[in-house]
Amino acid sequence: MMRLHKILCVLVAGCGTLAPDGGGATDLPVSGAGPYGKLAPNDAYPFQAPYVLSDAGADLDDPYVLAWGDLLATWVTYTVGHTSEIRHADFFSLETGSTGFIGAIQPAEAWEGNRVAQPAILWTSPWLLFYSGAGGIGYATSPDGHAWTKAPGPALVATADEGAISSPAAILIGDTVRLFYLASDGVRAADARFADLAARAEAPFQRRAGVVIAPGAASWLPSPGRLSARNVLLATGRERYDLFLSGSVDGVRAVGFASSFDGESFAIAAAPFLDPRSPDEWSPTVTAYRAGSLLLFTQQEGQHSAIGAATSP
């Protein structure tokens, strides 16, 4: 009987030694600012991670990605020889790989100069796709994100001060589409009414004064390269506007971002997303994916460039 008393006392005193690890840290909010880690190789993937899109006969570049649940829709610049077009690839999920490329926009207009590239998408009604050509920046509309109709172009042509312009990136602020683009003196912006773009109006953009991001604005941005943009509707009901930029550190290309609550003044991250080292990355695009974020970028894979992926919890 005394032994039972002692055993039970020990059991009572031992309460609390068998607990699982603590909780409260599940699905914490993240903004998409990172940190990012490249997708690790996995035998279960139908692709060679971190490369989620590649083609043995073409250079892939300038990815743009949208997510809806586990589904991903991507657009890339697809270059063979001296001809570039924009192609589209869908994923049922990141891990299952793409369903293959289908054509989106092909060069056909004189001003495009046999090259359409650098897609930037707005998932609106109708969909809007902005792209660069040899002679400026153009755009197209679509009812479903697949069948595109070009607007009379180019929609934006470089001024004498700007030199050449390229790399369109678009956000929606109310009923205004703000288009960011690369000029010789940095990242600039121009506005157009959404209604004009939906109607495929000719030359709809009005330039905004000044440079949005100048070369040297951050240590990793001595000269901004290919950029993309996105709207983020925050849980608090306000919008945030992100720019994803290509830069370099000690001559090695790097990708990072800048962000704004008003679409006019942008705060630039102090460091790039990924450790700048060879093989380097450029042309970033980010989407919220599942509980975290997905970053796609361009990276050299053997003889050609391919699209790599990195994730942030």
Binding site: M1, L4, H5, L8, C9, V12, A13, C15, G16, T17, L18, A19, P20, G22, G23, G24, A25, T26, D27, L28, P29, V30, S31, G32, A33, G34, L234, A235, T236, G237, R238, R240, A258, S259, S260, F261, F266, A267, I268, A269, A291
Partner: protein
């Protein structure tokens, strides 16, 4: 104190032998032993969040003026001496949080465990006194202490503050008829320690030629804080009361040090008499000081209304993030190659004091010869002491609307098997945390804007045995 405690434990065990089964007596023995080992009790964060005892919890926690059973060990120790008989409460309570950030469940751990309490009145000469003890024993962990990264979002009220044992012991005495005072000391322990290594670390063949001597010094340092209360009954139907609970914070102080040389035996060392030390200081399990003023009125023989107003000093809340101080000495040559960041200082959390009103209603729905039935309901409003999280910190919290209902059955004496009344109380409560938005100033913030909301469901059952 210890002699009285042992006497009471012995008397309790003898009384229990008549009616309680063997295992229950054994558990009670263990509790007495444990309460004797910790004569100065601890203030309860789980009781602070979820109440103690089903009667008080069903009344929305408005029990400062009416607690006269074991729950008085938490709500107002002066109430211990208001009763005439020995009361032992045994119960079980659970709180299940469903807390969300941006619509996603944070999976905050539930809090559940056994509640045990004793209210033992007596007399020292003509002076009525009482001794009380109460224990909330979590059934999955005794205490959890952890230090999170400064910017990591955490539910500052529910995440870790409720994950601890609660142990209380108090004394009360009657000044004159209708005027009672009581008090006790709260007790907890914190760790303070250092791990030290000293010797030689070889560069090659480390297993064979390294020699390190380790020393570990860890102290469990006692932390005490007081609680006191007063009850005044100016009339037979009106009770006024006040209670005070002092603040509590658990400080963790851990260090690691290594002293020695790096290099192979017989050769000039790469690092001669080098040293590395890291000291971490953090705090956890904060409990604000609380002053409660209360009134209870038996407006009819069947209807009792109680009201508490608690002022809680949350402005003393300190950042729980650990501060790390690193020192490194590798010699003059190598020191120039190493750049350690300076210790980081964190901004003050900016919490503010709050006022918590509580209202409870108890109605005797049934009063028969052998059984009585009480119905209870309560409401409390607890504003969040945390400011909107616009900077780097993320102390997630919302205002809280607390709704509770409960019932209690009291049986009359029933022969030799049940010579004294037995009460069984149960309660269900829901704490509703409405949406709260946190809008960051910096668009680059890695957490970003978020919306927090949630619900906490609480259940409990308490039995009260009188002797």
């Amino acid at each position: 104190m210890m002699r009285m405690h042992n006497y009471l434990c012995d008397r309790i065990i003898r009384l229990c032998s008549r009616i309680m089964p063997l295992c229950a007596r054994t558990i009670l023995l263990c509790i007495c032993i444990m309460s004797g080992l910790f004569p100065s009790p601890a203030r309860a964060n789980p009781a602070d969040a979820f109440g103690f005892g089903s009667r008080a919890a069903a009344l929305g926690g408005a029990a400062t003026a009416i607690a006269d059973d074991a729950s008085a060990n938490y709500y107002n120790p002066a109430g211990l001496v208001r009763g005439r008989d020995l009361r032992i409460d045994l119960g079980y309570q659970a709180a299940l949080p469903y807390l969300y950030m941006n619509g996603r469940n944070s999976q905050v751990d539930p809090t559940h465990g056994f509640s045990v309490g004793i209210a033992a009145p007596g007399a020292i000469g003509p002076i009525r006194v009482a001794f009380g003890a109460a224990l909330f024993l979590p059934d999955d962990r005794l205490t959890r202490v952890r230090s999170l990264a400064f910017a990591q979002p955490r539910w500052v009220y529910y995440d870790n503050r409720t994950q601890r044992i609660f142990l209380a012991a108090n004394l009360a005495l009657q000044i004159v008829r209708g005027l009672y005072v009581g008090g006790g000391l709260a007790f907890m322990s914190r760790t303070q320690g250092t791990v030290a290594l000293q010797g030689n670390i070889a560069v090659t063949d480390t297993d064979q030629t390294s020699s390190l001597v380790k020393r570990i010094d860890v102290d469990l340092v006692a932390v005490r804080y007081p609680q006191a209360g007063i009850v005044f009954e100016p009339t037979g139907w009106l009770t006024l009361a006040a209670s005070y609970r002092h603040s509590f914070i658990l400080r963790l102080d851990q260090g690691f040090a290594i002293n020695g040389s790096v290099g192979n035996p017989g050769l000039m060392p790469i690092v001669a008499n080098g040293s590395f030390s890291a000291t971490s200081e953090s705090s956890d399990l904060f409990q604000p000081w609380q002053l409660t003023l209360a009134v209870a009125a038996r407006v009819t023989p069947r209807l009792l209304i109680s009201f508490d107003a608690t002022y809680a000093g949350w402005s003393q809340f300190e950042t729980p993030a650990a501060t790390l101080d690193i020192k490194l000495d590798l010699g003059a040559t190598l020191n120039k190659l190493v750049h350690l960041p300076p210790p980081r200082s964190y901004p003050a959390p900016g919490f503010h004091d709050i006022l918590i009103p509580r209202l409870g209603v108890e109605y005797r729905a049934l009063a028969r010869e052998k059984v009585a039935l009480d119905l209870r309901a309560g409401y409390a409003y607890e504003p969040s002491p945390a400011p909107e999280q616009v900077g780097e910190s993320n102390y997630v919290d919302c205002d809280k609307h607390h709704f509770s209902v409960g019932a209690g059955i009291e049986t009359r004496p029933f022969g030799a098997a049940l010579p004294r009344p037995l009460s069984i109380d149960a309660h269900v409560a829901v704490t509703y945390l409405p949406d709260r938005f946190n809008r960051k100033v910096d668009p680059l913030d890695p957490v970003g804007d978020y919306a927090a909301r949630g619900t906490v469901v609480e259940l409990g059952l308490t039995t009260r045995w009188r002797f």
